[in-house]
């Protein structure tokens, strides 16, 4: 018994006395940029170490990267930030995380000159708070990611021109289903458990208004109101329900589905959802669907373009105010998004030049030859995508060429989409939530009932009753909060 005790105690003491040597690094990045969402396996540790050494040699700083392990990176980020070792650099809506962030004005001035040159001035205005503090580096710019995509092969077989109106689109779907009854129109209402994606794709064409927050200013009272109150909203819902009754919508649009597998069925005749399903997923599955080719189709509704531009918003790369080495972070960002060279960005995303990638054409934009990540065993841990900067690196790779070409051209083409009234406004979403305690209930009610209206589970005749339910849930508080912020924004 004594011997057993001695052995057991020794094991416990050994475990507690084992010192794990910490990696030497200057700062920690939580890479929730979205770049790593398709790479579940992670980089090979030995390869990652070599890339880390290479990045340190080129940039002069050594970051350590935390790769998201949870499906919901927001949850993981929040847990990390509340912990004892929060990350120093991460992507977030700066207005929501403002209390934990460091203003960047001085850092940009001292260490971020190349960075300032590479990001458009208009994007910086979304990053500035009411006191003139720049709270983050813009993650994106205003884009048009919810366009309608139809299939050229179906158009050719049906003898149709590219649809231009909602009526043309409906005729296209009818013709597609004559060719193959399994052809469907895809969108996704479930992706973030929000209601915005189908609405961003279609609502503006029937209402002349769309936003996740204030969609229009009511001329009768001057208040900023959301989409459910817009004139023409019932026409939008009737359109969606009509397509459901005709069997045009893919049934799983309103629940969960695997996007890659759905496109692999070759039955998606029309897509109205996040653009990267077309530019990233389709090239990967097109070999299973010979001849399948999607084309962008700007569509006009009774009140204008059906797709709505997505504001750049407050999404940013932000620095934790507890960061020990913010200068190193800024130097790294300055290197990654340099306005003279793509070397930093290409290295972060692809690995070591000469070993994992090489230049096909240097310059701005650059064309690079990449290797498959399963061969390089490096998935891009140090890469931080930034739109539109990332469009300057075009892989000489058929699987990614479509995506990067689209980043440079289609995504920033705002001429054929509705511009929301808050296109150039940075909402303080944290304040909206504080001033509207039941905001979550309101959004859930919209998501649940819009889906019910689309599928006919709830009759559109009950729409006024739905509005009364929204009022009971606190919609008027939301309207007041949005109106206050919009008025402050105009005054500034």
């Amino acid at each position: 018994m004594k011997l057993l005790y001695i052995i057991f105690s020794s094991v416990i003491i050994f475990m507690f006395s084992t010192v794990v040597k910490a990696d030497e690094h200057d700062f920690v990045i939580f890479n929730n940029s979205g770049l790593l969402q398709f790479d579940g396996g992670g980089s090979d540790p030995a390869v990652l170490q070599r890339v880390s050494d290479h990045v340190a040699k080129l940039s002069g700083v050594r970051p350590m990267v935390i790769v998201p392990s949870l499906q919901d990176t927001t949850e993981q980020l929040n847990l990390l930030l509340a912990g004892s070792n929060p990350p120093d650099l991460f992507q977030a809506d700066w207005d929501v995380y403002k209390s934990t962030l460091m203003p960047l004005n001085d850092l940009l001035k001292e260490h971020g000159q190349a960075l300032l040159g590479s990001i458009p001035d208009t994007s910086w205005q979304y990053m500035t708070d009411a006191d003139g503090n720049i709270m983050g580096v813009p993650r994106t710019a205003a884009t048009s990611p919810y366009m309608t995509w139809v299939r050229q092969d179906i158009l050719d077989e049906a003898g149709l021109d590219l649809p231009k109106t909602v009526e043309d689109l409906t005729a296209y779907m009818a013709a597609a289903q004559k060719i193959n009854p399994d052809f469907k129109a895809g969108t996704r209402a479930w992706s973030t458990n929000k209601w915005e994606e189908p609405a961003f794709g279609f609502a503006a064409g029937f209402t002349g208004a769309m936003s996740y927050n204030a969609a229009f200013i009511d001329p009768s009272d001057g208040r900023a109101k959301p989409l459910p109150l817009a004139d023409g909203i019932k026409d939008y819902l009737h359109f969606m329900n009509d397509w459901h009754n005709k069997g045009y919508w893919y049934p799983d649009n309103w629940s969960k589905f695997d996007e890659s597998e759905v496109f692999r069925t070759c039955n998606i005749a029309m897509w109205s959802g996040w653009y990267s399903r077309i530019t990233i997923i389709v090239p990967k599955v097109v070999s299973a669907c010979p001849g399948m080719e999607y084309v962008r189709a700007p569509i006009m509704g009774p009140k204008g373009w059906i797709a709505t531009t997505r504001p750049s918003g407050t999404s940013a790369y932000v620095i934790n105010k507890k960061a020990d080495n913010p200068e190193a972070i800024m130097k790294y960002l300055n290197w990654i998004w340099n306005d003279k060279s793509m070397e930093g960005y290409a290295t972060g995303v692809n690995g070591i030049e000469g070993e994992h990638w090489s230049y096909e054409k240097k310059g701005f934009p650059a064309i690079i030859n990449t290797k498959d990540k399963s061969d390089t065993k490096y998935v891009g841990d140090f890469g931080l995508p930034n739109f539109p900067y990332e469009g300057n690196m075009q892989p000489n790779d058929s699987l990614w060429a479509t995506h990067f070409n689209y980043l440079g051209s289609g995504l920033t083409n705002l001429s054929d989409s509705h511009h929301p009234i808050d296109l150039f406004m940075a909402w303080d979403k944290g304040r909206l939530a504080d001033e509207t305690p039941s905001l979550g209930d309101v959004h859930r009610m919209i998501a649940e009932n819009f889906t019910a209206f689309y599928t006919g589970e709830r009759s559109i005749d009950e729409y006024d009753a739905f509005l009364a339910e929204l009022d009971d849930a606190g919609m008027q508080d939301w309207i007041d909060a949005m109106t206050r912020q919009m008025q402050e924004s105009w005054n500034n």
């Binding site: 005790y5 629940s255 039941s438 979550g440």
Partner: protein
């Protein structure tokens, strides 16, 4: 004290586990105070002390939500159904397995039945989604071949709860049967011999010997299940639900996830957690008293 000193090495062996529970389960109970404060998660430990007291504000926020009764109802229905179907299933499975005479076959069946327990809910949800996909899903296409209609199971309120319960039972039946099999292995074989001599068949032996002998285990496990009545399976629901089935699928945990964790309202999330814990305690206390009164062995 003399006995403690005499058997001190056993206590030393139990000490690490005890320390673990004290540090990671009892000390954190003090954190329940944030349910009564307005805490910012980024202020660290200092924020815990400096945050203002707000009393029952977060509890009022929860109970005043238009979806309060919905989420409570859904939680009770889903976990109630999981107990109704998922509690007897491993008992029946263990009884059936106990009757298998070929030891090799018994071991193989036991091992195979455990495997779903080790599959994470993320993978299981992926499997369920793939099987029930309207286009290309094995189950959906099979039903379509027989009936000519494709059902969107995951988007249909009538089927969604059934999917949750079925996948839960599939995942837990093997692992949960272990304790019952262990209890059955301790039954004196002489009882079965006597019963056989008296002319009892297998069903009668199971009914009059096996089940009464493991009844104390059944009652303990049932008490623990009742204590978890408000745990309807957060991960499973979160991975499978969508706005089209919110009405039947949104449970307390998914509500708190959206309103609390994602919106950084940790105090609100803590308040709802405390609410659940208090309700669960009363349920457990009541069930335990009932068990004691009925002459069964309770938890205390």
């Amino acid at each position: 004290m003399k006995k403690i000193w005499k058997y001190r090495f056993y206590y030393y062996l139990a000490l690490p586990g005890l320390i673990y529970f004290v540090i990671f389960h009892y000390v954190p109970m003090g954190g329940a105070l944030i349910a009564f404060k307005d805490i910012s998660p980024f202020d660290g430990l200092q924020g815990f002390f400096d945050a203002p007291w707000v009393g029952l504000k977060h509890f009022e926020r929860f109970t005043s939500s238009v979806y309060f009764y919905d989420v409570i109802e859904n939680t009770l229905i889903i976990s109630g159904l999981k107990i109704l179907f998922g509690f007897p299933a491993p008992i029946i499975f263990a009884l059936l397995l106990n009757e298998v005479l070929r030891m090799n076959l018994k071991r193989v069946m036991q091992t195979v039945s455990y495997l779903p327990h080790f599959i994470s809910w993320v993978v299981t949800a992926g499997m369920v989604t793939a099987l029930l996909a309207t286009s290309g899903g094995l189950i959906t296409e099979s039903i379509n071949d027989f009936t000519g209609s494709k059902i969107n199971f995951l988007g249909n309120k009538d089927y969604f709860v059934g999917i949750l319960v079925t996948s839960h039972v599939w995942k837990t039946i093997g692992w949960s049967s272990i304790i019952y099999l262990a209890a059955m292995s301790s039954i004196d074989p002489a009882l079965y011999e006597s019963a056989r001599l008296d002319g009892a068949n297998r069903l009668q032996m199971a009914r009059h010997i096996t089940i009464p002998s493991i009844m104390f285990v059944i009652v303990i496990m049932l008490l623990l299940e009742i204590g978890n009545l408000l745990e309807a399976g957060f991960e499973q629901v979160l991975l499978l639900y969508s706005p089209s089935v919110y009405k039947v699928a949104d449970i307390i945990d998914t509500f708190v996830y959206r309103e609390g964790l994602l919106a950084l309202k940790y105090s609100f999330a803590a308040a709802v957690g405390l609410f659940k814990a208090v309700i669960a305690f009363f349920l457990l206390y009541t069930a335990n008293r009932l068990a004691n009164r009925l002459g069964q062995t309770g938890l205390w």
